[in-house]
Subunit: 226 residues, 2 copies
């Protein structure tokens, strides 16, 4: 089968991870190209002058950039299976949660922890990790895990009765923190049950194969029965 | 006419400003309640436990939170006039630009400049503004204004042939920077022509009436012929 599209992504980018899972959920044939956005490769900058991942290039050369634009585009052009809910209010709740994970959770937790603990290693930064930022990220993480657990205890999936972009977004961020061994799963049993359900989906398998150069994953990372 | 909804917003919040403009563009009768999210008012936290603005409450009590969820919800439930384009690729381009302004531009420019120069004043913070953050925000601003000018010189509106969420998002952020006198309009004539076009729309009028306690707006702020 010919690939319908190519995704330029980075294993360290939680937004790229969401698009990867979505492409599998929609069964869209695709190929993956790992991009190191900080290297500012000229060929990549011609695709996306902003220089950030993810970027989707379709077979006819059409390019879509920015994670939200890409995910909405995939959901519009490949509507089945639905990943945004069935009603305007249902979609609003799913987009609220997706936005929460992609803005607040990312800024408060994922950016400081992944940035300080992983990005600096992978980029070979001469700056040491900021222990103040790591401390703040870890402290913030607890509240979000409680919120995920609280939500997951009340609904089959974060956004409602069916799996949706809300689960994909949350699990994409969580998967990076889990790789780094940042999640105290035993303290968050409801969040753990939810994450086991999501990471066991075939669409998630490709993420669990990722290995970051210079960083060994936590023992639970690829384990579906952790 | 009965209001169809109530918007909880903050004049200092560029995301709230986008929803205000969108409600006017869609001619949706609404009322506005100014919220100071940092005061964490219990009645407001019951509507949105995350505590951030904007929050939309409909006449039947239904609540939608997070700016992207609110804007997509309004665009779905009141599709005319269209503010997201007419085709999936058109919408992807509009959402790309909207995402660019709401994530990168906000983080690189608006958050440091508005946070340091305005939010600290309005909140009565005991911390002085960080001159390093203000400098960085101002430096970053130049590139974005060039990009707006470059785009506006090639299309009638940022997202294409018609006004869209891309213009609303960009202009909402720009309006706050303009209030603070941060825009060297004479150095960015194409961006200036575009902004005159957007701020002259009736939907923008309500923003131009805003006055922040303790901060006098730049002389150009409400002037449509600056």
């Amino acid at each position: 089968m010919t690939d319908r599209c190519t995704l330029y992504h980075s294993p360290l980018c939680p937004f790229s991870r969401q698009v990867r899972v979505l492409l599998f959920e929609k069964a869209i044939p695709h190929s993956l190209i790992i991009e190191k956005p900080w290297e500012r490769r000229p060929e990549f900058l011609r695709l996306n002058p902003m220089g950030d991942v993810p970027v989707l290039r379709e077979a006819d050369g059409h390019v879509v950039a920015h994670h939200n634009a890409i995910c909405e585009y995939i959901n519009e052009t490949t509507p089945v299976p639905p990943m945004l809910g069935e009603t305007p209010r249902g979609r609003a709740e799913i987009r609220r949660l997706t936005g929460l994970f992609n803005t607040s959770f990312y800024a408060d937790v994922v950016k400081p922890l992944v940035g300080e603990r992983a990005l600096k290693v992978v980029q070979g930064s001469s700056q040491p990790p900021s222990s103040a930022m790591i401390r703040a990220g870890r402290e913030n993480l607890k509240g979000y895990l409680s919120y995920i657990g609280w939500t997951a205890a009340r609904r089959p999936y974060l956004g409602g009765r069916a799996v949706s972009m809300a689960d994909i977004a949350a699990a994409a961020h969580i998967s990076l923190l889990d790789y780094l061994g940042e999640i105290a799963w035993d303290e968050h049993p409801d969040a753990k049950l939810w994450y086991i359900k999501i990471k066991s989906r075939p669409s998630f398998n490709s993420l669990l194969q990722d290995r970051l150069v210079g960083i060994i994953p936590a023992t639970t990372y690829a384990d579906l029965d952790f």
